[in-house]
Symmetry: C2
Subunit: 390 residues, 2 copies
Amino acid sequence: MANPTFASDRADAVKPFQVMALLSEAQQRQANGQDVIHLEVGEPDFPTPEPMIEAGMQALRERKTRYTPALGMPELRERIARYYEEGFGVSLSPRRIALAPGASGALLLLTAARLNPQDQLMLADPGYPCNRYFARVFEAHGQLVPCSAEQAWQLTPDDLRTQWAETTKAVLVASPANPTGTVLTAAQLTALHQQTRQLGGELWVDEIYQGLNYSSEAHTVLSVADDAVVLNSFSKYFGMTGWRLGWAVIPEGWESAFERLAQNLFLAPSTPAQHAAMVAFEPDTLAILEQRREILRQRRDYLVPALRELGFGVPVSPDGGLYVYADASRFTSDSLAFCLQALEETDVAFTPGLDFGDYLANTHVRFAFTEELPRLEQAIERLSAWLPRL
Amino acid sequence: MANPTFASDRADAVKPFQVMALLSEAQQRQANGQDVIHLEVGEPDFPTPEPMIEAGMQALRERKTRYTPALGMPELRERIARYYEEGFGVSLSPRRIALAPGASGALLLLTAARLNPQDQLMLADPGYPCNRYFARVFEAHGQLVPCSAEQAWQLTPDDLRTQWAETTKAVLVASPANPTGTVLTAAQLTALHQQTRQLGGELWVDEIYQGLNYSSEAHTVLSVADDAVVLNSFSKYFGMTGWRLGWAVIPEGWESAFERLAQNLFLAPSTPAQHAAMVAFEPDTLAILEQRREILRQRRDYLVPALRELGFGVPVSPDGGLYVYADASRFTSDSLAFCLQALEETDVAFTPGLDFGDYLANTHVRFAFTEELPRLEQAIERLSAWLPRL
């Protein structure tokens, strides 16, 4: 009865992150007193900003600990809608905002609400690995399309045209993207939207790194495509990772399906997190977040040329996000072995490309700039001494 | 592209709670100044106990806001395992505790990990309505088996034997149950476990109302069946509904599948909630919870005979939980219309049986004792004046 070999087919199909083995090795080394530099973790190193901490504590003081409606508190849905108005000049009904346990929860609702078994969800390879598994757990499929550095690792209208299948239902792009940090311009989003619409599909845009933009101001696909679906989160730019609160912006008419799914699958998102998030868009908070953005920009500006100098290829500089996706083909054709060896011999931890898809995955690695600048310099020094010995 | 008619088949299959229409009517009336007595809500009226509030605030003060491991903090998994040891004399490896966003999240992981498309999950009717939809969203099916008051609304070994199909994979029972409050004894659980095992299936036990026991001490299926799966939650007995934190106890060997699914679908459960939950099992907290249990017992002891006196049938008194499931056949054969009329004419809100299944659903209603005793008395007075006029 407890036989693990009887796990569902979907559970067997969902693979572990390669980085988990690396993480556990890194933790082991750290427990043994080694000074590990963590460039493998996809989480900002800043704590939640003071105003959200204070708002969260205030909610607890006032015993605001009961369930909220399934798609979130009306006042937070309104506040997020206002953020799109104030920040991007986009008018939205609050009914189009669906809060969930993280952007993961929002993508779970979206996938459940839109994909039938055997449908395909087109995805860029490299990309966030979980996306394909959301499709898989609902008996649909991720349709990975190799995206080269020449196209900034992003899907193009041409890819959509040539790769679209009878079963393709939607395409999910990310801007800024993980692991590559590349951003889709408004013109590119417009073209992708038009192409998707022509093909009779849906355009889903992962904007969870929105705000972590270094080369231009943050923008949203909703400025150019009112019926695109957006995924966003309080985790990355807003620094609320552990609170688990994200949202989807959905087209008019979808609210009922999302609400019914959310009622059944989640009941509601976290109440303390929602109260904390109420102040995420206030000027005090945004001032803190903009300082952090500047710090992250400095790290990126240091890390990209430093990696290039070591012999890594960075054909497209990241415009946003938290990562540099680097070509390590000069050093390896087995990115996991390379990462593990680097960890063992330099105590610098970074992530093998295998975690982001298949395309060129064995020759690429991802560095997160989620440690302070002096630590990044130290990491580069260590790698600089180590790489020539390979 | 934004055409809501293209929602997935699963989204169309997931029905809204009937109580939502009632809730929105109740809120409307309340907004208009009516004094609505809420006996429709499945949420204790007590706030989170002080020790958890304080622990949550302390975690925020210390900026403990980052991701935890996917199945929860090791120290909380250990603490929960210790709770089973101390509370029930059951020894468990902490690796068998999987934390998730609510018991809902835990059931989502369980269903995803164990059920293949077309598998069936046997469920008691009446029962918690979401359970069948967890199966449905993963392309499996809830197999509703009518359970009469004579069998305390619970599945029996005989039901399992006679209803088991080739495709039946698991059976989910609840103790204390929602909506009926009935409890399965250790002997009954043993018999269900043996029968399930003989049939080659898995026994899943919803223990989310554990601790809200009024006729006997709380117990767990794990005392009699080490390889049963348990769902539990910090929501009900522990008073942490809005924090969204629950857990599953899974058999040895299942951890990897749960961990991979949780990594992908949830990333991790809420960090502040986990820190708050660390003190849920401490003596100070348990003293508060036991006081609350006594208050709930008094409410139950008032409500059951009072409803009987009004002409409702309560053939099985609830041993636990938060509800009285009452036979209203003397008054109606349309439970939804009856509830709506009662709300409109008395401002007492309670839930139609339709939300809990098909069996006798049109002649039954659920009263939650989640308001204070004087309010329950007021509700009974209002109904007492109203029912004879029907």
